[in-house]
Symmetry: C2
Subunit: 152 residues, 2 copies
């Protein structure tokens, strides 16, 4: 099998979308991450789910567990309320890693190796012109590998 055989269409976000929207799209679609695309639909970056969540958690809480503990339960439930109008672009790290992509003809081993190496359960598949042709989730990869596998 090749990457294009198991890639699926996934909803994407742009840097102009609110962070709260990105989180919602991810949750509703049960995605393990999000592909951020530019204005022409090319992948700008692929964020693992925890790093989409990271956009919504103040840096101070991420770094200091003791500080997070000082916030009472009622306020802790609403921490992402503070996001309000923040966009994905506002919260992305200034230094962006290159997008986690494979070509349509990549093998499942190449996809697996990239997921392991980059700790990303979501990988974008790109066409030769650089446009997004789909994405592969870790779950989809495992299911596809299981199908290839003689029953043990």
């Amino acid at each position: 099998m090749q990457a294009s055989d198991i890639a699926a269409h996934v909803p994407t976000v742009t840097v102009h979308d609110p962070v709260s929207w990105a989180l919602r799209v991810m949750a509703v679609n049960r995605l393990p991450g999000m592909v951020v695309v530019d204005g022409s639909g090319r992948p700008l970056t692929v964020l693992p789910g925890t790093q989409v969540l990271r956009l919504a958690v103040a840096e101070s809480f991420q770094q200091d567990p003791a500080l997070a503990r000082t916030i009472d339960e009622a306020h802790a439930d609403l921490f992402w309320e503070e996001l309000a109008d923040l966009t994905v672009g506002d919260c992305l790290p200034a230094k962006r890693a290159k997008p986690l992509t494979v070509a349509a003809d990549a093998t499942l081993l190449e996809v697996a190796a990239l997921m392991c190496r980059e700790h990303s359960p979501l990988i974008a598949v790109v066409a030769p012109d650089g446009s997004l042709s789909g994405a592969i989730t870790l779950e989809r990869l495992l299911t596809s590998l299981a199908v290839s596998r003689p029953e043990s």
Copy 2:
């Protein structure tokens, strides 16, 4: 809400279980990672899904994308066949990070901050005696936060 309010029972593995079994349990249960427990049911480590996958991908392929590309498609589909009898314990890094756990009374902000910091979409919840009382997935956290959130 507290961690115990949203924690769910999850299947676990031990260091004696085959890696192929851990991957299968994760896929079948649509989990974003696995909790590895010791003989008394205490969390030994919590592995994000990509790191469970990592147990199955030879180190050489993880490090060298060019090497992964040399494996033809038919063999690439079956790369985890080589695992055969390898156990989770055989493949865990020698230096294990401390398990990603929170206490039952941790707030959702504390859970979120830990997920971001450790890049783990799965966090174990432990009872005061150190035993596993459940786990929280990123998806479950996002859904719970959405419930807390006034509709916008």
